[in-house]
């Protein structure tokens, strides 16, 4: 008797298990060759960008002239980073409350904050000893015409290796850009997102003012 009652349940359960266990594979299979090929292109492109940054950082003329170096790095940063997506992910749900103009303003100051705090740090290192190992890339499932890929690298600085994942995006076949960086497993966008999620009472105006004050 008992068996009769439980058998359909068991079969249903096993059926669910089978469905669940195959689900990841089908998701995996849908990352087609196109996405893989694009991811490989993204890696090549990233190498080129990083090399260009290293050239700027190592340029003796620019080292002698810090404001010019800062300007050059900032311009390069705008070319390399997709600050639109970056700020979207940094703001999290708050992003939806921003008007298009406020989004642009936020993006302007946010890009300045990132370049002001991180580029001088890069320039201040003994740059001759910096090298980057490109380990692998992992394409994410494309969404409509948005392609994304994570590029796993290792920054070697003297004797220490720092794992860095560059998260890159390409919309409508536009050039690849970085929209987030994960350093030792810490996503910058997610880090800002939690900071903003804590500031519940801040309006978009407050956020922009706060950022502006920090940058200036």
């Amino acid at each position: 008797m008992k068996f009769r009652v439980y058998a359909p349940v068991t079969i249903a359960f096993l059926f669910c298990l089978v469905i669940l266990s195959t689900a990841p594979f089908s998701a995996f299979a849908s990352i087609d060759d196109d996405a893989r090929q694009k991811a490989a292109q993204a890696e090549t492109y990233l190498k080129k960008l990083v090399d260009e940054v290293l050239v700027i950082v190592r340029d003796p003329d620019l080292i002698a002239n810090p404001p010019a170096q800062e300007k050059t790095l900032y311009d390069k940063g705008l070319e390399i980073f997709d600050f639109n997506t970056f700020s979207m992910l940094a703001l999290g749900p708050k992003y939806r409350k921003f008007t298009p103009q406020q989004r642009t303003d936020f993006q302007t100051y946010f890009s300045k904050l990132i370049s002001q705090t991180y580029f001088p740090k890069l320039a201040g290192q003994d740059v001759e000893n910096i090298s980057i190992n490109y380990l692998s890339n992992r394409p994410l499932k494309p969404k409509k015409k948005i392609f994304r890929t994570d590029i796993f690298t290792e920054l070697v600085r003297g004797d220490t290796q720092i794992p860095i994942i560059y998260r890159m995006i390409s919309r409508d076949d536009a050039p690849w850009k970085i929209y987030d960086i994960k350093i030792e497993g810490v996503s910058m966008a997610a880090n800002y997102r939690e900071q903003y999620s804590q500031q519940v009472s801040l309006t978009p105006e407050d956020i922009i003012t706060q950022l502006k004050e920090k940058v200036e």
């Binding site: 979207m88 999290g92 705090t117 991180y118 409509k144 948005i146 994960k182 497993g185 997610a190 920090k214």
Partner: protein, 259 residues
Amino acid sequence: MKQLIAVLLVGCALVCFSPVDGFTGDTAGVATDEALPEEVLLDDEDLFAEYETQGQATQAVADPLYYFNYAMFSVNDVLYFYALKPVAQGYKAVVPTVARKGISNFFNNLMFPIRFANNILQGKGERAANELGAFVVNSTVGVLGFYDFAQRHMDINLPDEDLGQTLGVYGIGDGFYLVLPLLGPSTLRDTVGRLGDSFANPITYVEPWELAWGMRGLDQVNTVSFRIGDYEALKEASLDPYVALRNAYIQNRKSLIKE
């Protein structure tokens, strides 16, 4: 005494095992906002929603001891800028990089029992074997571990493992966030792990105690001498340094547990 420790451990385990959601206190993950203004491009919206559900958003940790933690964070901040950093800078100026690297290697080699035990506990056989091999080679050929022969010439690397990570691998949650005086960010689980690891840490058994603390101090100053500027950059780039550091700690630990 033993009973007390046992009771404490069981208590901690209970807290850690209890669903984290019930503990969220004043922190919360990035909640999904239901209202979608029309002007947001559908493509972006898709991307965004996926990003939020990928587990990227759920890095938040319960922080019921916020006021204590914030006080400890402030104390550590002052200690860093007025004690640790100047000392580490002076030390860096006096001690050549080769020597500092050697000291770093020495302590890294000395912590072998912790990594070895935790590799075993996590069932990472190959890593445990690597650890053992590297320990034997570095302690002998590498002269007491001052030279990292195995890492340089045998292509072995020794990823950090600790009991906090092992407990994480076993499925035990963070419990809650905890900022320890001097030691910095931690969680209940990682603090329990640290306590457990101390039994496998050779420095614990060094006598007299002055020498043990001297070694700990040297290790700390030596480590910081390689990382001057990292904390400053995090602080400068953040809008709320306390939250930024908490989030960075939690994200970093999650990625260590995952690998």
